[in-house]
């Protein structure tokens, strides 16, 4: 059957629009003539009782049309996605520096932003908790602490020939999508409200906007054609922005747009959780772990947001690819007077994996072994040693094979030897190398979220209109699903019109998150298209009096017995015979189940795997370093679109590298974030890309589970390949006097020099 679209390295469906400036983001949409612009007034105190918000000067400022404080919100003052514990506008107590207190709508952006500065807020400052350890000491939590325990960790640690313990600090990360948060709410007739939002979760925006404005959900429509990046930062956070725009639109009866300035965006919206991690491990002479005890304390900020599942995923990924038979994990979800932290690519997984990789590196260095050997000795087995701490059996383990292939293709052994020789002769510059694995569980851990819908219309000219519940943030989801739909209908991709995510087309969709976008929406679209094709097949068999088995679709044609028609001709004929030419598709991920009360079950449909070898050179006088070479081998199953998948692998890796190296979030003593713009918060630039960057997708990988065309999810897993960069730096600076350097993440030049010279921060 004809040329397949699936598996082709097609360009992003919007690539031509991106490069010509014609791709419309929310701020580029035509503006209604009556549009007002909204700005948000924020708390300057980290924790304070609000005795008064005097907006007299604000209200009379040039261009100002209306203002709003918490008490004036027409509906529910809540934007908490899971637990209703976060107010859209703080009513009585400001809980972090940056907490939204009021909103202003004015004729221009400039007027609204200027007016905000005229407010007089009466604060009574309260004691603030600014650090996770402080929160643990005060038992300040957004959610109850959790413990996962298997085997006999204390006994195994006590009996082990060797023991190590350590406390680590691991920094957070701002998503730094290039397009900041934005929403535009446009009142419609009869109480309707149309919301354009840069969101990964239009359904949640629809529901929260409806609640905040006191409307039934049916009266709100949320649309998002594309985001200028998201990375988890627009999963729950977009709702707050949309709610404020919608509240002002409801109050004024005019269209309202809220576009956050970059600084406000970084101050007001959540980030990757930073962690304090403690471990104690007992291990054998061979480096194999006998028992381990982990304590995780994460900065959740003022509310639960997505911190529950984020921290659960930390617990699920502190094994990475290793069999940990005797384990105790304690997870504290700390309430701090800082912005409420949220989803970011990896969703807690990276922090868990950082913890165990640090343990493995410590074990290897303390025994004088190659860390790669210790990693291999602890890998999950095949058919044995294959049960995770949450009791899922690892059935699809391929990490050993990936390591074998990568060790060879990256010449790891030879290079490690050569680096040893170099370092022996070099006093200032030191090189290091590390190879680390990734095993990442695919599915939402909340089982009910693993459902997706699609809506496909075939028109009488044989072209088709495609909607599904997924959103496009640059990852290439829309082109991948279009490839699936094209193959299912037997037409070329150019016959498929890709449309904006729209809650009036596909309802109740989960966030595009957990790397699940193409797995779930691809299947849903396939199911919808299969229904249409089935009806066409049935019709053609009847009409042309041939067996259904004699009918085939492909290359924009339909073979019917010995003759053939164009797809468009068959569709036209079917329409004349009153055949339904549109269909919806619904998919729910099979096999998964999970009992949160016992932390056991099968939360993940399957695992995605990968490995990376990174090499660095460090200046031991200043702590500066460069990544000189990276080799990656990553498992995407049978790729739906290798160009998109390589893009995810490379981009995820560099983003992970930023998290572990130059991206540092800082707060001052008053609890204000001091790194809230690109001038102070440093994501990687072009020259940080290793000169020698070799990325391969694992060939003929497949997927033992029945995923869409046996592909694997790729959004998040590659981020954690960057752990190899961190450990290559650690390898470079380990010395006879400091064999286990105290390197903290992010490994800024300062952190590196501190680890080299052994001084405290």
């Amino acid at each position: 059957m004809g040329a397949r679209a699936v598996g082709q390295a097609l360009p992003h469906d919007s690539a031509r629009l991106h490069v010509s400036g014609l791709a419309a983001y929310t701020d580029d949409l035509p503006e209604p003539r009556d549009l007002l612009h909204v700005a948000v007034g924020m708390s300057r105190c980290a924790h304070a009782r609000i005795h008064g918000i005097d907006l007299t000067a604000v209200a009379v400022a040039t261009g100002v049309v209306d203002t709003c404080v918490a008490a004036e919100i027409p509906g529910e003052n809540n934007c908490g996605p899971i637990i209703h514990d976060e107010q859209i506008l703080a009513a009585d107590v400001a809980e972090y520096a940056g907490h939204a207190l009021f909103a202003v709508a004015a004729e221009t952006v400039d007027q609204a932003r200027k007016a905000v500065r005229l407010a007089r807020i009466d604060y009574e400052e309260l004691e603030a908790i600014l650090d996770p350890l402080q929160a643990v000491a005060k038992k300040s939590f957004v959610l109850p602490s959790e413990t996962l325990r298997r085997g006999n960790p204390e006994g195994a640690i006590a009996r082990a020939p060797h023991r190590l313990k350590r406390r680590l600090r691991l920094g957070g990360q701002d998503q730094f999508y290039l397009e900041g948060h934005i929403a535009m709410a446009i009142p419609q007739e009869d109480d309707g409200l149309l919301v354009y939002s840069s969101t990964q979760h239009p359904d949640e925006v629809q529901h929260l906007v409806a609640a905040a404005t006191g409307r039934p959900v049916k009266n709100v429509v949320c649309i998002c054609r594309r985001m200028g990046g998201a990375f988890g930062g627009k999963e729950s956070q977009a709702a707050t922005i949309a709610c404020i725009a919608a509240i002002m639109a409801t109050k004024t009866g005019r269209a309202c747009k809220l576009r956050l300035d970059r600084d406000d965006d970084m101050i007001m919206t959540g980030k990757r959780h930073d962690f304090v991690i403690e471990y104690e491990v007992g291990f054998g002479d061979d480096g194999r772990i006998h028992g381990i005890d982990f304590m995780f304390a994460s900065r959740c900020g003022i509310s639960a947001d997505l911190s529950g599942p984020v921290n659960d995923r930390t617990m699920f990924h502190c094994d990475n690819a290793y069999f940990l038979e005797n384990i105790n994990i304690v997870s504290h979800r700390c309430k701090t007077n800082t912005v409420s932290n949220t989803a970011f690519r990896g969703f807690g997984g990276p922090q868990g994996m950082h913890a165990i990789e640090y343990v493995i590196d410590d074990i290897a260095r303390s025994l004088g072994l190659d860390p790669v050997q210790v990693r291999r000795r602890n890998f999950y087995g095949i058919g044995e040693r294959n049960v995770t701490p949450y009791l899922q059996v690892v059935e699809d383990n391929i990490i050993g094979g990936i390591f074998d292939q990568l060790e060879h293709s990256a010449s790891y052994v030879e290079r490690r030897r050569e680096i040893r020789d170099f370092n022996a002769a070099s006093t200032v510059l030191k090189r290091g190398i590390a190879m680390t694995p990734v095993k990442f569980g695919i599915s939402f851990t909340a089982t009910h979220l693993n459902q997706a819908g699609a809506l496909v219309h075939v028109y009488r000219d044989g072209t088709a209109h495609l909607n599904h519940g997924g959103t496009e943030m640059g990852q290439g989801l829309f082109i991948k699903v279009a490839q699936v739909a094209a193959d299912e209908l037997g037409v070329s991709v150019d016959k498929i019109r890709i449309n904006a995510s729209d809650t009036s087309k596909v309802p109740n969709a989960s966030a595009t998150a957990a790397s699940s976008g193409s797995d779930m929406n691809g299947k849903a679209a396939q199911i919808a298209c299969a229904k249409i094709r089935g009806r066409l097949t049935e019709f053609a068999a009847r009409h042309f009096n041939v067996a259904e088995s004699q009918i085939g679709f492909g290359d924009n044609r339909v073979a019917i017995g010995k003759t053939s028609l164009s797809f468009a001709e068959l569709v036209q004929l079917a329409w004349l015979h009153r055949v339904q030419l549109w269909a919806s598709g619904f998919y729910k991920t099979p096999k998964i189940h999970y009992d949160r009360s016992t932390f056991s079950g099968r939360p993940f449909f399957y695992y995605a795997y990968g490995g990376a070898v990174s090499e660095v050179v460090v200046d031991t006088l200043t702590g500066e370093y460069r990544v000189t070479r990276v080799d990656i081998l990553h498992d995407c199953g049978d790729s739906l679109n290798p160009a998109m998948d390589i893009g995810q692998v490379e981009g995820g890796f560099i983003q992970g590298m930023g998290w572990l190296t130059s991206e540092e979030l800082c707060w001052n003593a008053a609890g204000e974030l001091t790194t809230h713009a690109p001038s102070t918060y440093k994501i990687p630039t072009c020259s940080d890309l290793p000169v020698d960057f070799r990325v391969q997708l694992l060939a003929n990988a497949g997927n033992r589970e029945d995923t869409i065309y046996r592909s694997k999810a790729v959004g998040e897993p590659p981020l954690m390949l960057a752990l190899s960069v961190f450990h290559a730096i650690r390898d470079a600076i380990a010395s006879p006097t400091r064999p286990l350097p105290e390197l903290q993440a992010p490994a800024t030049p300062e952190a590196v020099l501190r680890a080299i010279e052994g001084w405290a921060s």
Binding site: G21, V428, L429, A677, T680
Partner: protein, 481 residues
Amino acid sequence: MGSTVKFVLDGEIIELKDVDPTRTVLQFLREDLRRTGTKEGCAEGDCGACTVVIAELNRDSDGVQLKAINSCIQFLPTLHGKQLITVESLQRKNAGPHPVQQAMVDCHGSQCGFCTPGFVMSLFALYKSNPRPSRTEIDDALAGNLCRCTGYRPIIAAANAMYELPPAASEPLHAATLAQLEVSDSLHIEHGARNFFAPTTREELAALLAKYPRATLLAGGTDVGLWVTKQHRVLDTVIYTARVAGLQQIAVSRTHIEIGAAVSLAAAMEAIVAHYPALDDLFRRFASPPIRNAGTLGGNIANGSPIGDSMPALMVAGTTLTLMSAAGEREIALEDFYLDYQVKDLKAGEFLAQIRIPLPEKNVVLHSHKLSKRFDQDISAVCSAYRLQLDAGRVASFAMACGGMAATIRRARHCEAALNGQPWTAASIDKAMLALAEDFAPISDMRSSAAYRLRAAQNMLRRFFLETSGELESSVYRYGR
């Protein structure tokens, strides 16, 4: 004296009267023209999503000179006499994509696409100015553009592939139209009670400043722009220096490099590196091409930030400044110019006219080390500069200045004293490193801790010793490149 801002856009002459003098080029494009291809990512010139290209007629040849700039912090009247090229200019109706755009598509150089127009414009400036860039030149050309999705590899691939594609049927350059612009006279825009002046001579500038001593002097706008976009300040009187011919010259006398205060950082650096090649490493890391194209050396100096990167090196080189006012001129040593945090020896009505950098003497080594979290486009935690003259293994003269270590950029006198007259040995350096702790008591902030600033400054001095004594030949930045 004109009051109309005139510039070229897509071959048309645009004439604007009564413009808000601090309206940014980006606001003009997005809000007034609804030309939304150019994006706002940060409104402070640090992400590059707003990158556009400015074309100016070459003074000494027929062609035009192209510069990528950040439209988010450029005020609209600064376009006077120039051509503005945006992403929409590259692909006109019914024409195919420009090779730069096609290469980005072919190489999968966009994912979310929001940074893409900015990258396309930086690549376009590179395409028109460098026929075959190296990887380092590509990195440098893109240092002011952030991409959060791709990890840059496919964009670098596009930067190579664009040269392999057939050239565009026509390039969006309109030199003839540009030449028709009549913009030789001075500009004065009145907007309500606010004024914008763009004088063309130093005398005119001095007279304006005498009349409006509290006026904001605007050069490249890479700092003043943020006063408006971030601090929402209203600037009542702005005097723009970049059209003053007498501030635009670079001359090399027998003893000095003389740089007009309004010369761009890019042009000034080129002139300085020709005589002080060791400063190339510093200048490559100094801001980004769009900032270096717009920003001026005079602005960097007169702004007087304690973290300005040009001043340590210029200070140890013995640079002097020519300050001018309606009353006349005076000369001051750069090291005497900074009195305290943001306080300069600059009287009301006075402006910086010229920077005079002594040419290097024989047997003098001048070098500067910059330290920051990120290699490109990052503000220094510490920036040190050294001038060393050796005589038979002894230090005949040593000068050192540091940025990021105190409220002003200043010399390290204790450290200098510890080395002057001493043998140039590791033992002397150990003592000098200790002396450096007497020179500076730096602060902790988001860029680094006080302890790191001092320790790194000490270690960088050791690095300078190792480099000059031939014990250290490479840096991490050159390693493997």
